[in-house]
């Protein structure tokens, strides 16, 4: 099912589709893109997943929380009117807001983990030549930051000191390879090999994180 379209015959393939995916999610696609979406199971699944993430991510947007004084005044007013009892009110009014963000975060993290696992399964079942890049590694906010890298190195230094320098140098190497591929891709966005190199570089970084966590 992967890469059914043929380049140069007016039919869009998966790589071309995934390149414009962010715009499709925001604004909808043109006829050609919609056609690919209808015909390709992999891409239609992916779009559904990403739409779901976008919806859930909205929950993470900081909400405007009224000042505690407002809650106290509402609480006092309701108590005065005898509409609620003291003990029930406390949990209800102060409860929901803080955990909405946490819930969103949990959903997002769980979903990212799910996509990572699914990406692996897709890779294993796809042929070597036709392997579709596991988009989750670059399209979600799961790309490790410099702080994450630092934390990884500290973790390795604490648990397996003899491996610390190897992780440091290989992490540097992977980050350099990511920068390399990004630079080339910026200069030539149509360079399919550079795009594949970038994806592989992120996969190598993911491997470092996985091995460090063992």
């Amino acid at each position: 099912m992967i890469g059914l379209g043929k380049r140069g015959e007016g039919v869009m393939n998966c790589a071309e589709f995934q390149k414009v995916l962010p715009y499709i999610i925001e604004t909808g696609g043109n006829t050609e893109e919609e056609r690919h979406l209808r015909e390709c199971l992999v891409c239609s699944d992916l779009v559904e997943d990403l739409k779901y993430i976008v919806e859930q991510a909205k929950l993470l947007v900081p909400m405007e929380d009224p000042s505690p004084r407002v809650w106290e005044e509402i609480k006092a007013s309701l108590e005065r009117e005898g509409r609620i009892k003291r003990a029930r009110l406390k949990g209800r009014l102060l409860g929901p807001i803080p955990w909405i963000g946490a819930l969103g975060a949990i959903i997002l993290v769980a979903f990212a983990a799910f996509l990572v696992e699914r990406g692996r399964q897709q890779q294993a079942s796809a042929s070597v030549e036709n392997t579709t890049p596991p988009l989750q590694t670059i399209s979600l906010n799961t790309v490790p930051t410099e702080q994450d890298d630092e934390q990884l190195l500290q973790q390795v230094a604490a648990s397996r000191p003899s491996s610390a320098s190897a992780y440091q140098s290989n992490l540097d190497q992977v980050n350099a390879s990511i920068a390399d591929a990004k630079r080339t891709l910026e200069q030539n966005p149509d360079d399919e090999d550079a795009r594949q190199s970038l994806i592989r570089a992120y996969q190598q970084k993911a491997l470092l994180y996985e091995l460090a966590a063992q």
Binding site: S127, V128, E129, R160, P161, S162, S163, A166, Y167, S169, N170, Q173, V174, S177, D180, A181, T184, D191, D193, A194, Q196, S197, R200, A201, Q203, Q204, L207, L208, L211, Q214
Partner: protein, 289 residues
């Protein structure tokens, strides 16, 4: 004369003392060696976790797992247990320790159809003759897997990987910085990935499989026998490619070829698909002698 006699006596005492110390050390070392034996059924799973020290594992003709472990100090011990058809061996640090005191050397014999999982940090790993699935993860330890025909997966941070005489399986070797050497490796799917590590392949890409050798900045060197039946493509983004192997140019190229950056072609029936890719490394394909 008396002086010489005294010197001779002293020398003899020192020699005897040294011999006694060596004998004691040998006794202590032998006493530290542990051996565990487990009878297992077909398709048993054996896992070994050992940060420091070597793990040498080879297939035997019997349905028994024999674990021989030599800890280097009293700061470390070996936990081994059998749960059903699974044997788990793990190095256990009794207190905080480093590479020298935390080392345990393992020698294992397992049934030929066993599945094996090994995790090390810096210790070298050797796996020989195992017909089941083999999975090895290491940080800097050297990994050597040979004479297997199951699914082989090896992943390292910087440790070199050597794969020899692997047949008919699914082979996956990934190292960030370590080199990967493949000799007579053939299978339905063979996939090698590195960031900076070089990849060296020697053999015939047999089995009508799909082969993918990929490195970001490492070089890829392929020595191909004349009988190889391959449909090969090679491409680099900013590196170079060289081909000394007689390939027939493709009638319908599946990718645009550019001089010095890519080449493609088939040899014999083109039974196996071979894909070589680097970002900035050099790809070289030559005929083996």
């Amino acid at each position: 004369m008396a002086g010489r006699q005294k010197m001779s006596n002293t020398s003899r005492s020192v020699t005897l003392g040294l011999l006694a110390a060596l004998a004691l050390a040998a006794t202590a070392s032998a006493a530290d060696k542990k051996e565990f034996r487990y009878t297992v059924a077909r398709g048993a799973t054996i896992s070994v976790v050992n940060d420091y020290g070597s793990v040498r594992l080879r297939a035997s003709g019997v349905s028994q797992v024999v674990v021989s472990a030599t800890p280097s100090s009293s700061k470390v011990e070996v936990d081994a247990a059998q749960n059903g058809n699974r044997v788990e061996v793990r190095t256990h640090f009794l207190r905080k320790t480093g590479e020298n005191d935390g080392r345990v050397e393992y020698d294992l014999q397992v049934p030929a159809d066993a599945n094996v999982m090994i995790r090390t940090a810096s210790g070298p790993v050797q796996v020989r003759g195992v017909g089941g699935d083999v999975s090895v993860d290491a940080d800097t330890g050297q990994v050597d897997v040979r004479d297997s025909n199951g699914h082989v997966r090896v992943r390292t941070v910087g440790g070199p990987i050597t794969l020899n005489n692997l047949k008919d399986g699914f082979v996956e070797a990934t190292s960030v910085g370590g080199p990967v050497m493949l000799n007579n490796v053939a299978g339905r799917v063979v996939s090698v990935n590195t960031t900076g590590g070089a990849i060296v392949y020697s053999g015939d890409f047999g089995g009508g499989g799909q082969y993918s050798l990929t490195s970001h900045s490492g070089n890829i060197d392929v020595s191909l026998s004349a009988s190889a039946s391959v449909d090969l493509t090679a491409r680099t983004v900013t590196g170079t490619v060289e081909n000394d192997f007689p390939l027939q140019a493709p009638v319908h190229p599946i990718m645009a070829l550019s001089q010095g950056k890519s080449f493609a072609g088939t040899s014999n029936a083109g039974a196996s698909a071979v894909r070589l890719r680097t970002f900035s490394g050099r790809i070289r394909v030559k005929k083996s002698h």
